[in-house]
């Protein structure tokens, strides 16, 4: 396992300070339990999410580059972002600053105006919580440390859009055995399987939840989420494991909305993968924030003897 990944810079991002509260809590709890060190990026800013690029993409690149610049300033060359949106944007900034002269120019201009060092491509590597746990800990170590196996729990692993698309911003993926696949991502499957879970064959792993328009075009989002929820149920899953706060909250919200507006009730549980992993490592339900989810998984967790 990679020793230099035991201590990395941590970029929670705005969502994990808000609706993704439980994801933040459970990520930190899992890291602590595994003896890993997360050092929060000092005085970070929003990465631009899915919105700022629609005002102007170069501003989004700058916002993400500032986070990378802050990371570099702290002496780190690795930053871990558990949020798909943040992860995606930092990766995209890295890609654009490597390949696009205009992005480099605007980033330099805005960084100078803001009075900080201009981030240059290649200085910081961005990791998702999934990459990070796979590389810093790995499946074998997870298996060894499991105290309450997830055996018998059927999980649909849901990755969403921003973890794998567009492919070009993830040059390290699709490099054969041991690397992540953009067509059929499996790191979450691998980690949860190591914790004993029974992963179901889930065809909508990288389907879109409509998160960008969750409020502005709710009907479309509800239809997309309902597809994911019903496909998970049809695959025999008890729970959908998520690794993105937007997908997670979207599924929770539209599960309720599908029932209230379309009369379509689904029962599948929705939990952050770090919550499931934390429970398997023996952490309490409260420690991984099961109580803090919008959807109620307390009964499920108790019934399966996990917390």
């Amino acid at each position: 396992m990679e020793k230099d990944l035991k201590k990395v810079a941590y970029y929670p991002g705005c969502a994990l300070e808000g609706t993704g509260y439980a994801y933040n809590k459970s990520t930190k709890a899992v890291a602590k339990e595994l003896g890993l060190d997360l050092v929060e990026v000092e005085n970070w800013n929003c990465c631009g999410a899915m919105e700022v690029k629609n005002i102007d993409p170069e501003i989004e690149t700058y916002l993400s580059a500032r986070v990378l610049s802050q990371t570099e300033k702290m002496g780190f060359d690795k930053v871990m972002a558990p949020c798909n949106g943040c992860y995606h944007n930092l990766k995209k900034a890295e890609h654009d600053l490597t390949h696009d002269a205009h992005s480099v120019e605007v980033n330099d201009r805005l960084s100078k105006k803001a009075g900080h060092k201009t981030y240059e491509a290649g200085k910081v590597e961005t990791l998702h919580a999934l990459d990070w746990l796979m590389r810093a800990v790995g499946e074998e170590e997870i298996s060894r440390r499991v105290r309450k196996s997830l055996s018998g729990i059927k999980v649909a692993n849901y990755y969403g859009c921003m973890y794998t698309r567009p492919r070009r911003i993830f040059p390290e993926k699709d490099k054969g055995p041991g690397t992540e696949s953009t067509a059929n991502p499996h790191f979450m499957d691998d980690l949860l399987a190591a914790a004993g879970a029974e992963n179901v064959a889930f065809p909508l792993k990288t389907a879109c939840c409509g998160g960008a328009h969750t409020l502005s075009d709710s009907d479309t989002s509800t239809k997309l989420c309902l597809n994911i929820l019903t496909a998970a149920e049809a695959s025999g899953a008890d729970v959908i494991a998520t690794e993105c706060p937007t997908c997670h909250t979207g599924l929770e919200m539209h599960q309720i909305r599908a029932e209230k507006v379309m009369g379509r009730k689904t029962k599948v549980k929705i939990m952050h993968f770090t919550q499931l992993l934390g429970l398997a490592l023996g952490l309490s339900s409260r420690k991984v924030g099961v109580n803090d989810n919008f959807s109620d998984s307390r009964g499920f967790v108790k019934e399966r003897g996990l917390g």
């Binding site: 919105e51 700022v52 629609n54 993409p57 409020l215």
Partner: protein, 251 residues
């Protein structure tokens, strides 16, 4: 000529004859639909250049109409009228009137980037959809769409303080949509909030409460904000010039 995408022809231009025999061949009914011949004279020859001048539209000229984008499209699966391949075709030909027919759905692209991965020519159709939605608003073909209200409210927060606060994003969106009290009227939003509140997650509720009073912000953000605002003004002016619009007006 067979009509592959019948939904793309205006209903008034479709000719279905109940009883028609031409040269002894019966061509009546559904399987012998004809399209009204017409001459298109109202091309906007600058249209492709206009879209290409906006952020995201740069690569539209590369499209060779394979249709991979529409085939991969998340929204197309929900609404078959949502057809990026067709809109790119219209833009490249300059058929403004035809494009404007779909003005109320083009903004619905969810940015899932399936099209971007499917495209063999690196058109980045996702970005072209955003540029097109922006173009429709700049040209005055449509009022600001809900997604624009959302993006603008969200971005305004980021530009102002460096960060966003989820609760404020939601409240600000509904305010911009003209109904600040909607969160309290939507049964699903009410069920979502009361559901979690009942379980009394003290830490979370305190944190959300605190965020209401003390907005999260990045320290020393003012110079960054100034730089970004200045840049946006420049881009706005450049966009409006490229579209032949007068200099004033918002983004």
């Amino acid at each position: 000529m067979p009509i592959h995408e019948k939904s793309l022809i205006r209903p008034e231009n479709l000719r279905e004859q109940d009883e028609l025999v031409i040269d002894g061949v019966d061509v009546s009914g559904h399987w012998s639909t004809f399209i009204e011949t017409r001459a298109v004279t109202d091309y906007n020859e600058a249209m492709q250049d206009e879209i290409a001048a906006l952020a995201g539209g740069e690569n539209i000229h590369r499209c060779w109409q394979c249709g991979s984008c529409t085939n991969a499209c998340t929204v197309h699966a929900v609404n078959p009228d949502f057809n990026p391949r067709y809109w790119i075709y219209l833009i490249r030909l300059g058929m403004e009137d035809e494009l404007v027919r779909d003005k109320d759905i083009i903004w619905q692209c969810v940015s899932c980037n399936k099209c971007t991965d499917a495209c063999p020519r690196d058109v980045v159709p996702e970005a072209v959809m955003k540029a097109t939605a922006h173009w429709l608003e700049l040209k005055g073909h449509v009022d600001k769409k809900p997604s624009t209200h959302f993006d603008e409210g969200f971005s305004a927060q980021v530009i102002e303080t460096g960060k966003i606060e989820d609760g404020l994003v939601v409240r600000d969106f509904f305010k911009r949509m003209g109904d600040p009290f909607r969160p309290f009227k939507e049964p699903y939003l009410v069920a979502m909030i009361t559901g979690i509140a009942k379980r009394a997650p003290i830490g979370y509720l305190l944190k959300m409460g605190l965020a209401l009073v003390v907005r999260p912000r990045t320290r020393g953000w003012a110079p960054a904000r100034k730089g970004i605002e200045e840049y946006i003004r420049e881009v706005d002016a450049k966009d409006r010039k490229a579209l032949g619009l007068p200099a004033e007006g918002g983004h």
